[in-house]
Amino acid sequence: MLLGVLFSGGKDSVYACRRAMETGTVSCLITVVSENPDSYMFHTPNVAWANLIAEAVGIPQLTWPTLGEEEEELADLSDAIAAAVDLYGIEGVVTGAIESVYQAVRVQRICRDLDLWCYNPLWQIDQLEYLRLLVSEGFEVIITGVFAYPLDEAWVGARIDSRLIGELEALRDRYAINPSGEGGEIETFVLDGPIFKKRIEILRAEKTYENYRGRFLIEEARLVDK
């Protein structure tokens, strides 16, 4: 089956893509670029760099703009998926949704209306087990956004490894933070992994941080041989 993966460059869409590649053919990565930094549906930090990941994994990318206003962005997502059907012949859509019923329901409805299969291969996955899986399989994931107390400046740009997963586990127990950031606490970007033919090297980035809200904004990056 030919599949299109809803793709932001964050760990969930990248790992969903990996699982999709194991059982089907991923024909394209669908990236909706939102002009609203607080989009309800779409991961925004560094999404402009998702094209580098597409190139690194060797899958065509379809980008689609949206103003990112609640509900209207769903029409834009539907248009993007319909375009992927026309251009790449996809028969199914893959998402990286884990717990978000809000996102999952909306994508399911769009797929039903377009008569497409819908797959959520990370659905309800144990978040700590998932983070350990990412690390053990060799994904290099950095934190590009923090949006919750008590995540301090040190988290911005940090790489997800065993030590950091241990800290996220402690924060989950004490502050009810979702370890994989499904509640919007953290956002990520993937630099390398087993599906990457090349890895991403960040040459320049800017960090911002204030009152438990921080971003790691990539300003210059390139692909390098592994």
Partner: protein
Amino acid sequence: MILVVDLCSSPGSLSKYEFVDPIAGILRRAGSIYEVVHFTDLSNDPIEGADRIILCGTALKDDLYARRIELFSWIKDLDKPLLGICAGMQVISRVFGGEIVPRPKIGLNGIDIVKETDLLGPPRRIEGYHLHNSGVTLPPGFEIVAGRPGEVEAFKHSERPIYGIIFHPEVRNRWIVERFVSIR
């Protein structure tokens, strides 16, 4: 051992992560021993060796299970606890003489539990995650546990511990699977 039956269209499908693994995860965290088998690979051994059986759901567009209903004839004489989730409930309904009917529903909705059972507890309203194109009619010998005749949310065989629920307990209602583990 709990037998978890994968109803997705092919063994090892991408949908298995979404509809089977979350149920297996609940059982694993509850400390239960389980085995996952695809419905086209079922033989007498895992069925006879199981203490209880769960039939999992499938993706919206997946209806192969409904076209291979003869593979589930073993359910008719089953004398151990059985839980059918969404597609699994549809299978139970068909095997016992009910029908699978078009009744699409996607999202979180209120569910009225109307009869006390070991599985769902006393009558009250809960919220459940629905993801289906088809619902069921009540088969002979079953009673409605949640919902109403035109919209059966949960049913139970009147004499045996055979249950069906049309919503997905892996989303916000994991307690239902945990309760099923201890049903006699």
